[in-house]
């Protein structure tokens, strides 16, 4: 493992640096919480992500920022393939090489006083820092989180601790409301803006149900994660965008399905 640290002298965009693992524990079925300590100065907005180098894996693994507290960075990830499984067995005290400050993140200035945050599965984590920032800004966010089943539910208590209204759905009805996040959208009352993160079918359903403006965070297989390779491009009403650099968050009005 390299120990050399780099910083970006302009203080913008990304930083490549080593982080210490403080905690790496299962949170739900196949879901882990990773708490890291290091230089978080490049992270400027909720909804941004980091790209993690793993020994023996050629490409880094992009994971969204769940929480940020000084130099402490919390990520929540699902073990899906070999890379994330490898990450799952790493221990406190070990180090990880991260590119931080990637992506545009959510812009919290664009919403009104009563935004609705909607997350599905591993799309839920970035909404936590977003909710925290919105509360700090004096806004009154509501949150809808959707999971497949009780075994996969996480972050419920953390959201409740923020003192905000939370609606929880499971597809199989094993916990919370039975159904999808869009079912909860019909019950949650007034909202003037939406922030969404989750699998594309969920985003599309939210887009269709919601009649207010909003920001939607997309997922795509990435090469570099910092805008160089054009691996994750998408078409928008305002031209081609790179999910990693010009996204992952797109404004509702620019989305082309």
């Amino acid at each position: 493992m390299r120990v050399k640290q780099y910083t970006n002298k302009w203080g913008i965009d990304m930083i490549k640096s080593l982080f210490d693992i403080e905690q790496n524990e299962p949170l739900a079925s196949g879901i882990y919480r990773l708490v890291l300590h290091g230089d978080t100065s490049a992270i400027t907005a909720p909804g941004q992500f980091v790209n993690i180098e793993l020994e023996g894996r050629f490409l880094r693994r992009p994971i969204s920022v769940c929480d940020l507290d000084g130099q402490r960075l919390t990520l929540i990830y699902k073990t899906i393939g070999k890379g994330t499984q490898q990450l799952g067995i790493m221990k406190p005290g070990e180090k990880l090489d991260l590119l931080t400050g990637l992506g545009n993140g959510y812009n919290t200035d664009h919403c009104g006083q009563e935004p609705l945050l909607i997350g599905g599965g591993v799309g839920v984590p970035p909404l936590y820092l977003l909710a925290k920032r919105l509360v700090a800004a004096g806004k009154k966010p509501k949150v809808i989180v959707g999971f497949n089943s009780l075994q996969e539910v996480f972050l419920e208590e953390k959201f409740r601790d923020l003192g905000i209204e939370l609606f929880l759905t499971t597809a199989d009805g094993s916990y919370g409301l039975k159904g999808f996040v869009t079912d909860a959208m019909k019950l949650c009352g007034r909202y003037d803006y939406t922030f969404a993160c989750g699998p594309e079918p969920m985003l599309k359903a939210v887009y269709t149900v919601s009649d207010v403006n909003g920001q939607y965070s997309f997922e795509e297989r990435m090469g570099c994660g910092f805008g160089a390779c054009m691996g994750c491009s998408c078409k928008t009403k305002y031209g081609y965008k790179r999910i990693c650099k010009d996204g992952p968050v797109l404004e509702k009005e620019e989305i082309v399905w």
Binding site: L59, M222, S233, K235
Partner: protein, 303 residues
């Protein structure tokens, strides 16, 4: 003090390290991280006459020691590149660049070459012959000696800048194609482009890439690239820019011993955005370790 300078068709490079086309955009993302002027040169994103979105996503897959891409030459088109990207690049990179051009007809290659000929900061025109030839039945220009020679002649006739043909490894005999390009007047060769490859997702039981197949790059292809550079060096007199999976100063030396006059670093930049900088910084000490005083003296040294 070791000497890292090399020369490509009259263009002197402070060191032989050049970021490879398609992994470095037009330099902007990396210019925020380090001073690009430490690079030998820079081969910018493959440019076509018309703007291109490229292929559907997913365009990226991974494998042991490498990656696959099926980006499909996404670029803003010749006019935008000449009007915006190259002037912007010239502000942060004060050396000559390598203009990587692509086309689906001979006329498109010619149009790109003509435009690049007029750009002051273009030192070399690198012709990517891996695109399908729409008039030749969709087969890539680079898989036929005749088609590769035809593109070479056409491009040479419209520019006074050195023309390097970037060869595809997806051929039976790369030497034959290299020789055809040499006879057609090429000033140099770049090799290799990516190797055609695929991955299948076991969960969906479908190809990972939307395009089904893509180009393999990264350390997995280094020995193949090395072998092809070695073979081509034996058969032609042209300078060669060697590329394919280079990630370290040791790889640079190995590639130059095989016959490369300079190298390009591609996929390594995507994993480590500081890859070129690190290779350039470690090259002198690695040269000292292997008792190499001047890097240009080792070109083809393994023959």
């Amino acid at each position: 003090m070791v000497n890292t300078t090399v020369c490509l068709s009259g263009m002197t490079l402070d060191n032989p390290i050049i970021p490879a086309s398609g992994t470095f955009g037009y330099g902007a993302e990396y210019a925020q991280l380090y001073d690009l002027n430490l690079l030998g040169s820079l081969s910018f994103k493959g440019t076509t006459v018309e703007e291109r979105f490229g292929n559907a996503t997913p365009r990226i897959a991974e494998c042991e020691s490498g990656m696959l891409n099926s980006v499909g030459l996404q670029n803003p088109g010749l006019e935008a590149v000449c009007a915006h990207e190259l002037p912007a690049l010239a502000k942060v990179f004060h050396k000559s660049v390598i203009a990587n051009i692509s086309g689906f007809t001979v006329e498109e290659y010619v149009a790109c070459a003509k435009a690049m000929d007029e750009m002051e900061n273009v030192g070399i025109i690198e012709v990517n012959v891996s695109c399908p030839n729409v008039h030749g039945g969709g087969m890539s220009f680079g898989v036929s000696a005749q088609a590769a020679a035809q593109v070479t002649r056409a491009v040479k006739s419209v520019t006074t800048k050195p023309v390097y043909i970037k060869l595809s490894p997806n051929v039976t005999d790369i030497v034959e194609i290299a020789q055809a390009c040499e006879e057609a007047g090429a000033d140099g060769l770049s090799l290799i482009n990516t190797l055609l490859a695929m991955r299948i997702d076991l969960k969906t039981k479908r190809p990972v890439l939307a395009n089904k197949v893509g180009g393999l790059s990264g350390p997995a292809i280094f020995p193949v690239a090395l072998r092809m550079v070695y073979q081509v060096y034996s058969a032609v007199k042209l300078p060669i820019i060697g590329m394919g999976g280079i990630t370290s100063a040791e790889d640079v030396i190995e590639m130059m011993l095989a016959g490369a006059s300079a190298v390009q670093v591609g996929a390594a930049n995507l994993k480590n955005p500081f890859a070129c900088k690190e290779i350039i910084e470690t090259l002198p000490s690695v040269m000292e370790k292997y008792k190499i005083e001047s890097i240009s003296k080792i070109i083809g040294g393994a023959h």
